[in-house]
């Protein structure tokens, strides 16, 4: 703790609030505002983790939450970024990826054998002979593991929320702050997002003038202006993880995923500092210049005591000044440039008399007897990437790399923008952003602060002009001519390798060159073969170096080589963010709770809850169902049919519409009658069925299947958008609650609660429909018979459903009326041979195949499927849906989709099958070829466990073939 620098260093930490946590069981002291990494650094813990493949010691690299070097384990979650995660009291942090201890990791011995672990090693070594990978995988996965998952963890509550703004500014550095301020005029609502817990970006830690005072003044002014502007909403600690069509932005903050819709997005995502490649460039103590500056200014931590700066630009000199101001000895500035073009800051450093070596490179880093850098070897640069034969050893415990940046192009490229690279200036440009996506600042390769601010203002004004909140004359933004901060080739191969391109995956220069040697020359193939850029940091620090190496190895320019595609998410996202609160709509009939009270087992059909059967603790499930069946056949039962679709068709053309829509004829249908309605699509396939009830000349009430109602309704509207018939179509499915009272005693029960309709068989025959009062409730009565007994469907306004149910149960008490469920209904209808569309039909079934030709009218000009059906009728039938009965009742009962065999070939399949308690036979429906579709033909069904079961094709209906009972 005493190692901390005094204020104003450490702008993020609160020295009044000490926090204590453990790392590898060692007690560490930090302050509120510290990240795990900054607190560990202050406590002289330089080793943070072990690398993925060779278990090399790793320490702080970016201090920006952008690299995998700092992945640590918390009890509740693995792969936590130590340079991002704030410390909390009592937090238990451990390292990852080691065998033994973090200090003595036996896995590190792998590094010794690294030349036997070449690129593509896994593919080459473990995939032959075939099947070997399965044996190797568990061992390798253990070795290459990334942390441990706590399987007993109770997931935290994750949530989602929509947000709306006119403009989103992604990135709260100087460009983003200025853009937000300039855009937040008039009524324009602006969202400013930054992934850090603070705004200001580089203004917090970087040096923008020789005495290092300008940035903090500017930052304070911008912060004040933003705080004072009610149009700006600031979200810090929030990551915009993607860009989707029409400016739809997923922003993750804490446990909530914000789905943000804006009219314009301004990307001010900045630039990511890049590493130099030299031998042992991954040692703890080797870090980005910006990482050292962040440690100093944000956390008040000295990153070392003796520093060497490796630079290819003037920024490195600023870092040197910062370090020297903080009391770090500058051993040397190693400038890759032979003749540097100094700016004021660099000149200040020169004037301070620091040792400066130009035209030289750090060729290698050493770590004598330590887990941390102890010296560097500096050599003269002869040509691109080539150093002289020997050099000088300079002692140091900190090496800062300042060799250039890549723009944080990820979101722009997700939006379809083009990233290009100019080999001469080593600069990137991003072009072809979609309309309403804009760039400002260093993501757009602007480096001078005044240029950045000017562009941000200009872009913001462009946006407000487009939004119509301003009408400003735009001036072209300033572009100062300053030298490129990007050095074109900070890459120095070493005979012993270990110049890491990709720190996540432990890939070196040779690995990338070997990948091209193995024939993978395209950058996308290099990525997949070598795994370069596939680790947690997603190529943020390796894409550029890899592109440069591949370009050189394949004699292309970097521009031609390109970089790999950036896809969402930008940063690691917890599964909980997408798995958070979701909606699964559930639909309940008005009678729902009566079913529950009667012991019903409910099942879900789509969103609807339906009673499967009513349980009785003294009976098995099957017996319960069989009793329900028997009660309907011999007495009377009541079933809730509220989930059936209900559609009102009203108007002078209602009959004409139905005539075109369904297969039957409806124009001459008498008022007070119902007719079967079979629906086919244009391909002649059966897609739904129901009954059409005509209540008056211009009014039909049509039912549809539970699952088909919504799509039938939508389809009706679409067809009438074309036909433009004078008919109104309304979906009243939910507006009606329906019950079916069925069984020989149905009339007697109904007579007790319905007085204004003559219920006699003559006055109200089968397929008749009537309106009247049932238990004083206005009702529609339909004499239809899905289950094949005397029955009435009673449809009443939804909110009366429960009262209707109660009244009928009351009236039926003396007849032992019992409710029955869907399972019993399925058996009852199968006994009657009625098909269920979707179960007994598939995506190919035409009416002819399912023996429904009788329901197809040929007397009318057309219906939706008519042409196809008439074409099909010219062709031979290839299959028919037939009824069958199992010969041996003790054989295992076939299930839906069991195969029908003929000479050991499959020729058909079962669509429905069950034990019929009424007939005491096993009956079913199956598709079979026409050769074996005649009554009395024998078929073989491959039943459960492959048992072959003999069956006989049987006349349908199985039960009451003359249909006397439903017409009682």
């Amino acid at each position: 703790m005493k190692s901390r620098l005094p204020a104003p260093y450490g702008r993020l930490i609160n020295r009044q609030k000490p926090i204590q946590f453990t790392f590898e069981n060692r007690i560490i002291h930090g302050f509120s505002g510290d990240t795990i990494a900054s607190a560990l650094m202050a406590d002289k813990q330089y080793l943070l983790s072990r690398s993925f493949k060779y278990h090399r010691p790793r320490g702080i690299l970016t201090m920006a939450g952008q690299d995998a070097n700092t992945l640590v384990q918390l009890p509740s979650s693995p792969n936590v970024l130590a340079d991002k995660q704030a410390i909390e009291d009592g937090m238990q942090v451990t390292g990852q990826n080691y065998t033994g201890s973090l200090i003595r990791d036996w896995g590190a011995l792998l590094g010794v054998f690294s030349r036997f672990l070449p690129v593509g090693f896994y593919y080459k070594a473990f995939f032959k002979p075939r099947g070997m990978w399965e044996k190797w995988a568990p061992l390798i996965r253990k070795k290459a593991g990334l942390g441990v998952i706590d399987q007993s963890l109770k997931p935290a509550y994750h949530d989602k929320q929509y947000k709306f703004f006119d403009v989103a500014v992604i990135g709260g550095g100087p460009a983003g702050m200025q853009a937000a301020l300039s855009a937040a005029v008039g009524a324009t609502e602006v969202l400013l997002v930054d992934e850090n817990p603070y705004l200001g970006g580089a203004l917090n830690y970087s040096r923008f003038d020789s005495d290092g005072l300008y940035a903090s003044g500017l930052l304070q002014q911008l912060l004040n202006d933003i705080a004072a502007n009610p149009n700006i909403t600031v979200m810090t600690d929030a990551v915009c993880n993607g860009w989707f069509a029409d400016n739809w932005l997923p922003i993750v903050k804490g446990n909530r995923l914000f789905k943000v819709r804006v009219a314009h997005t301004i990307l001010c995502t900045g630039a990511l500092e890049q590493p130099a490649l030299f031998h042992n460039n991954d040692l703890p103590g080797v870090m980005m210049s910006s990482a050292a500056q962040r440690l100093l200014h944000l956390y008040g931590v000295k990153p070392g005591s003796k520093a060497v700066i490796l630079t290819g630009n003037n920024e490195g000199y600023g870092t040197a000044l910062d370090l020297q101001d903080a009391g770090v000895t500058i051993q040397a500035i190693i400038d890759l440039r032979k003749n540097p073009d100094y700016d004021d800051i660099a000149i200040t450093a020169v004037k301070k008399g620091m040792r400066i070596e130009t035209g030289q490179a750090v060729y290698a880093a050493q770590h004598q007897g330590s887990m941390r850098i102890t010296s560097v070897e500096v050599r003269k640069l002869i040509s691109q990437g080539i150093c002289s034969d020997h050099g000088e050893i300079i002692a140091c415990d900190l090496l800062c790399m300042s060799v250039g940046y890549t723009p944080a192009y990820q979101l722009a490229c997700q939006a379809g923008a083009q990233l290009s690279y100019d080999d001469a200036s080593a600069m990137f440009t991003i072009t072809n952003c979609p309309d309403k996506l804009h760039l400002a600042g260093s993501v757009n390769s602007l480096w001078a602060l005044k240029d950045v601010l000017s562009e941000a203002t200009n872009v913001a004004h462009q946006v407000t002009n487009e939004l119509g909140t301003t009408d400003l004359v735009l001036e072209s933004p300033i572009r100062s001519s300053i030298p490129s901060p990007n050095h074109p080739w900070p890459i120095f191969a070493h005979p012993e390798g270990k110049e890491f391109v990709d720190f996540d995956e432990d890939l070196t220069i040779a690995d990338i060159i070997n990948a091209t040697g193995d024939g993978y020359e395209h950058i996308q193939l290099v990525k997949r073969y070598s795994t370069c850029g596939m680790g947690p940091s997603q190529g943020r620090h390796s894409a550029l170096a890899a592109a440069r190496i591949v370009a050189a190895a394949t004699n292309r320019t970097v521009a031609d080589t390109g970089v790999t595609t950036a896809r969402p998410p930008f940063s690691a996202e917890q599964l909980g963010q997408s798995a958070g609160r979701s909606f699964y709509p559930a639909r309940r009939s008005n009678i729902h709770y009566r079913h529950l009270e009667a012991g019903a087992q409910m099942l879900q059909a789509g969103a609807w809850y339906r009673p499967a059967f009513y349980a009785n603790k003294n009976l098995s499930t099957q017996d319960c169902i069989n009793h329900e069946v028997a009660n309907v056949r011999s007495n009377v039962g009541l079933v809730d049919v509220s989930t059936l679709g209900g559609l009102e068709l009203r108007g002078p053309d209602a009959g004409e519409f139905l005539n075109r829509f369904y297969t039957f004829g409806f124009i001459k249908q008498p008022v007070g009658k119902a007719r079967y309605a079979l629906l086919t699509n244009e391909a002649g396939v059966v897609i739904d069925d129901g009954v059409a009830c005509r209540f008056n000349k211009n009014h039909f009430y049509v039912t549809a299947t539970t699952g088909g109602a919504d799509s039938v309704y939508q389809s009706m509207l679409k067809w009438n958008a074309q036909w433009q018939l004078d008919v109104d179509i309304a979906n009243v499915t939910s507006a009606y609650c329906g019950v079916n009272i069925a069984g020989p005693n149905a009339r007697k029960v109904l007579e007790k609660v319905c007085f204004d309709i003559d219920l006699s068989a003559q006055a109200f025959p089968y397929m008749g429909v009537r309106c009247g009062l049932v238990a004083t409730i206005p009702a529609r009565l339909l004499r239809v018979g899905f289950v094949g007994e005397l029955g009435y469907e009673i449809h009443v306004p939804q909110q009366y459903g429960e009262a209707l149910w109660d009244a009928i149960l009351d009236a039926g008490e003396e007849y032992s009326l019992k409710p029955f469920g869907i399972e019993a209904q399925r058996i009852l209808r199968l006994e009657k041979g009625h098909i269920i569309v979707g179960q007994d039909t598939d995506a190919m079934s035409n009416p002819n195949e399912v023996q429904m030709s009788w329901a197809v009218s040929r007397q009318k000009p057309f219906f939706i499927g008519s042409r196809t059906i008439s074409e099909l009728e010219k062709q031979p039938v290839s299959r028919t849906l037939v009824g069958f009965q199992i010969d041996d009742k003790s054989a295992p009962i076939p299930q839906e989709s069991h195969l029908v065999l003929s000479e050991n070939q499959m020729v058909g399949r079962v669509t429905s099958c069950c034990y019929s308690p009424t007939l005491e036979e096993v009956i079913g429906l199956a598709y079979v070829p026409p050769e074996i579709a005649s009554e009395g033909d024998s078929i073989i069904i491959k039943s459960t466990n492959g048992v072959l079961v003999a069956a006989t094709v049987t006349k349908v209906p199985f039960y009451d073939p003359d249909a006397k009972r439903q017409e009682l």
Partner: protein, 247 residues
């Protein structure tokens, strides 16, 4: 209405019942009868009605499903309603309060929804229903009545924080300055189709929700879950009536 009177009213006294009445019973709601309708008067809490008014001002959820509403569709509908002295909005997806206090909502060029007022002052819905039964049952005048009482549940979300709640369930921008008095959105709310109508109770923001009646309990539960972080709660009709009548 005093507590003694309301306590004894059970929601099952009427044959027409809200799909949510069991939820109200779970909360031990006090019911009251207004005409043929049984509604929740209030839920038991410390300060009774005054507390509920405070909740409703901040974030409340109220079930209005037993209140009368109706709808009409067809080319002849707007003209017919105009001939019945209704003010029919010009634009679709707009609500207009009538001088009788009922609310007329134009959903499309040919579709109108009519909601009764919370104080039961207007007889418009009953009158229109009667007219439709008398005059339009032959369905030859391009005017078709819709059973809105039974096809849709009717909920109200009230209070200054209501829009925060919607932002967790609905992808349409319903913030006060964007979705103003009289605005209507036919959209998806918690993955369920819904009509959302802004109709403030004097100074208290109020949003009516009409959604498929079979999904009423699902939606009610979703709304309560999303409300919990804002300390929203169910409120009875009386609180809303007080807010609606206090000028």
């Amino acid at each position: 209405m005093t507590k003694q009177e309301t306590n004894i009213i059970a929601p099952t006294l009427a044959t027409r019942r809200s799909p949510l009445y069991r939820r109200h019973l779970q909360y031990q709601a006090h019911f009251k009868q207004v005409g043929d309708n049984i509604v929740v008067d209030s839920y038991p809490n410390e300060g009774a009605i005054n507390d509920e008014i405070e909740i409703a001002k901040s974030m409340g959820l109220c079930d209005l499903s037993t209140l009368d509403r109706t709808g009409f569709k067809g080319v002849g509908t707007p003209q017919w309603l105009a001939s019945q002295s209704f003010k029919v909005p010009v634009l679709a997806n707009t609500a207009e309060e009538q001088s009788s206090q009922s609310l007329l909502i134009k959903l499309s060029a040919q579709e109108i929804l009519v909601l009764s007022d919370l104080l039961f002052l207007s007889e418009d819905v009953k009158r229109l229903y009667q007219k439709a039964v008398e005059n339009h049952q032959s369905y030859d005048q391009q005017i078709y009545n819709l059973p809105r009482n039974d096809s849709h549940c009717w909920l109200a979300v009230t209070g200054i924080n209501a829009t925060e709640l919607f932002s967790k369930l609905c992808a349409v921008d319903l913030r006060s300055h964007k979705f103003v008095q009289g605005a209507v959105a036919q959209t998806s709310l918690a993955k369920t189709n819904a009509i959302i109508i802004r109709h403030d109770l004097n100074k208290t923001p109020c949003f009516y929700i009409l959604s498929d009646i079979s999904g009423a309990e699902f939606l009610w539960d979703c709304l309560l879950d999303a409300m919990s972080e804002f300390h929203g709660a169910p409120v009875g009709l009386s609180a809303l009536q007080t807010l609606a009548s206090n000028q």
